[in-house]
Subunit: 555 residues, 2 copies
């Protein structure tokens, strides 16, 4: 259900933030790296009431009709609801929200109670040429829930009321879950029966099953539990021409995979209302530990070895040297690796060739979930493999410290935006043999683009995660100084350079964020003319009126 | 490349057969079970020359044009080529071939040398309203390579010349392989570099990569290596409107999966010309062993336990009591379990509750591939799990004996057809919680249908294989007496009853054989009207002239 006190101009809820109190190195380090001024001026977001909001374009008879479909209180046209649903949580979105720029809010936000109401709302909209934006948690970073410009009225269909575990099959380890359930809602309901879905994206607390499936998301533990498409056994999707229901079977040979058409459809063909998911018993332990590698190459070799020869980790996340240095600058004084270093450990490591600097060592977070004895056995092998490749074991405290902050970093982004720092991420994936080439090309391109955009020296850092037998994902975070008044244009310059570097170096346009509106520009290049023809053919047949999330996937 | 001495009226090559010499129990047992007469009359297939074959409907200018595209010798219109490509290897196909009934042979068989020639042939055909049947090994059991009736000329595009390993990425464990390569061609080329694909369907020797992908096939070792769709990283598919090429990345979030539209397309949208496959180093050992379980339920519990708690097997195949009894009747006198039983072992087992009879014990074949030490470790756990569920370990000889015959059973089918026995298979998949229900319903329906069709008492036997965390596949073989002159109608009665039982009991229409023409009748029931709408939308846009394998997938 709806989460109270959402921070409409930023991430999460108003009660929370990223705690910088016990992290004294953060600001000085950041200032030095980005060339920020000594006195950072804090610019708060404009108050909600001051946003110049276009009145709803739905007239009273239309609103009345909608209210008849879902119940009076479940059609909202108030300022807060419309602003909260006006865009996602991309850097660009937050820049615009903080400045009070909301040019295309939805004309109403509708909360259906069940699949029947979703179907009724879609039929109503298709008949009246009203645009429909399916909305889960709204955490997209690619503009996938933003109403398109134009004259057609827009309703956002918020799936928050469809938040229930419908059925659990303890024998088959499957669960039928409604698409509007958030991460915590899913884990709480499964947890009552001793099960877990195991999908923990950074947006976990504020994103939904339907959103994960519609965008082909990945959680931090995807190496152990799979990407969302690996977990999804079957879906139900309401389209304007009827309901697509796929078979609940472990595997099929019944033509092209309809499931894999619904998965990744990003609301352009319909609204996913529920899915049957593969679930697992909650693990007895989650044993996450840290390692240091002298070079990125050695760390990669260890990851590849683990994927090729086992034991396959539940979670693996190898930071390059800049990200390792940034984590240390941001680390809690009395916790994890930072605490160890403060206790004189730094010299000991340095003598062994592990250096703590943006051109120094690389931190690996590695974790195994499962039964105590099995995890212990796996750790014996995994530690040996890491040591074989030059890894220095840092123990569990580094892992615990990562766990503590795992969902908190988006709060830090709000703090950075408040003081004029540009920060965004780019993700991709490729084969092992192409990984370092892609990494080099992306890093170089993004650094150059930040500088060219007037962003100062900038800071670019990367981790390798979501590892597979044949390759891995690259997740790059970049920071620079905002060019005041040109924030969105500046960001787009860097984003464009990054994306073009990805594609020319053989990376995927996206591994788990999706396409939305921002990547649509490059989708034709990624999938080719025949690929685009396929997406359009599906669009025309499933959404003949063209009301479903227009513009997303370039459709 | 082309295989010499193919048995046009049956399985495999003329040099080989199923060796019944040292299996003295087979005929007496079969006679008793099926109620066959003492003197089985052997009916040989009609000679090739006596088949009444429609002349090719392609005129000389058309054939000349085709020859210009692929080279003179690579367009065949001779009797043998046209008959060999007239249908697949289903029971129905072989009944018709043996009787000399070939009403719809292709008008020419074309062997392109490369992707460019495939594209040229498709363009030529689409311009002239000539039907194109993509042909790999022709081992379909669902009519997927049979020219449709009607007036349009038909060419079959045999992919045999595209049989090469194009690239091997030793670091990423991927290989780009041409679609026309057969199982042995793939394994030989990968084997030179120490790699394996690990896809071993029963048709292994006579089926191709492109066929496996186009039908979503599964090999016997799918539990360890994955179904073909799990192994396929990317494809290239030539359609009449251009080439679809999907990205070689370990995972994607770039909209609906185009890869999973090409995989399973059964030649209706285009011709798959090559694929990038996940490959693995050849295992040091393949340690396959046998177990007996007193009941099917206990065997299933062991399989589920292995999938839920490990170690996950490479191969698992649990025969029900009738299949176990049939295997013993068919077993080599001096090998495997049969040999043990002959040595007085039967009484020992019986005293422990393991009975060898159609209502007795169930045989499990379980195997692990990998490095010696790892396989040994896994076997220690696996044997314990099997024992916990009542399994009696029979050791390696039973496993070796299975390995020896693993690709030979289709030869036995030819022998049976020659003496008037109907034999066919039905396969499906479902969740663990529905498995026994589905099994009971199918078995009952097929038995009743054989009897009603005049097939006598019949014999129905099943194995559970291709196991998953959430469920498994069921593979049913049924036998009965042919009703002379009505063989196809009789078979269709049984097939219909079996399929309707599958669907009404919640099973998938197919787990790995595909749809072809025979299952097309039920595809609408399996995937619903929105699903059919999707398949048709793709057809219209990718094959506007409707020349690609018409009728398959009901398109």
């Amino acid at each position: 259900m709806d989460i109270p006190n959402l921070r409409w101009w930023g991430w999460g809820t108003l009660e929370r933030t990223f705690p910088l109190k016990d992290r004294p190195r953060f600001w000085p380090t950041l200032r030095a790296w980005l060339g920020l001024p000594e006195d950072l001026e804090e610019r708060p977001p404009v108050p909600l009431e001051e946003i110049d909001l276009r009145p709803s374009r739905l007239d009273d008879p239309m609103l009345t009709a909608l209210r008849r479909l879902v119940g009076g209180e479940w059609v909202r046209t108030d300022r807060r609801a419309r602003v909260e649903h006006a865009c996602g949580k991309a850097y660009r979105d937050l820049v615009r929200l903080r400045a009070g720029l909301v040019p295309n809010p939805p004309d109403a936000v509708v909360y259906p109670a069940d699949e029947g109401q979703v179907a009724a709302v879609l039929a109503w909209a298709a008949d009246r040429d009203v645009v429909v934006i399916p909305f889960g948690g709204g955490s997209t970073v690619l503009g996938a829930v933003e109403p398109p410009p134009g004259d057609r009225p827009v309703i956002t269909v918020d799936m928050a009321r469809l938040d229930r575990l419908m059925a659990l099959d303890r024998e088959s380890w499957t669960a039928r879950i409604q698409a509007g359930a958030t991460g915590p809602e899913i884990e709480a309901q499964l947890g009552e029966h001793g099960f877990t879905l195991g999908h923990f994206p950074q947006s976990f607390e504020f994103s939904t099953l339907g959103g994960w499936i519609a965008t082909r998301g990945a959680g931090q533990a995807s190496t152990g539990y799979g990407k969302i498409e690996d977990m999804t056994l079957a879906v139900r999707m309401v389209t304007p021409v009827g309901i697509l229901e796929t078979r609940e079977a472990p595997a099929l040979a019944t033509g092209p995979s309809l499931l894999d058409i619904a998965v990744g459809s990003e609301g352009t063909y319909g609204v996913i209302t529920e899915a049957t998911m593969r679930v697992r018993p909650r693990p007895q332990v989650q044993d996450y530990r840290g390692f240091l590698f002298r070079t990125l190459e050695e760390g990669i070799a260890a990851l590849r070895d683990l994927m090729h020869h086992g034991p396959r980790p539940t979670i693996a996340r190898l930071s390059d040297a800049p990200e390792t240095a940034a984590s240390l600058a941001l680390a809690h004084e009395h916790r994890g690796l930072r605490a160890l270093l403060e206790q004189g450990f730094e010299g000991y490591l340095a003598r062994r060739g592990y250096k703590m600097a943006p051109d120094g060592s690389c931190f690996l977070l590695l974790g195994y979930d499962g039964a105590v004895s099995r995890v212990a056995r796996r750790w014996r092998h995994a530690e040996e493999t890491c040591r074989d490749h030059g890894g220095f074991p840092l123990g569990r405290s580094a892992g615990e410290s990562w766990k503590r902050d795992r969902f908190a970093h988006p709060y830090l982004r709000d703090i950075l935006l408040g003081v004029g720092v540009m920060v965004d991420t780019v993700e991709t994936a490729t084969t092992w043999s192409n990984l370092l080439h892609l990494y080099d090309e992306m890093t170089r391109a993004i650094r150059a683009a930040i500088r060219a955009s007037g962003g100062g020296p900038g800071y670019v850092m990367t981790h390798i995660s979501h590892i597979y037998e044949e390759g891995a994902s690259l997740y790059i975070t970049f920071l620079g100084r905002q060019t005041a008044g040109q924030e969105v244009e500046q960001w787009w310059e860097v984003k464009r350079a990054a994306t073009e570097a990805v594609l020319s170096a053989g990376g995927a346009l996206s591994h788990h964020h999706g396409i939305g509106r921002d990547h649509a520009h490059w989708l034709g290049q990624e999938i080719g003319p025949v690929g685009m023809r396929i997406l359009r053919a599906l669009k025309e047949r499933l959404d003949p009126a063209g009301v479903m999330n227009p513009g997303v996937l370039g459709l």
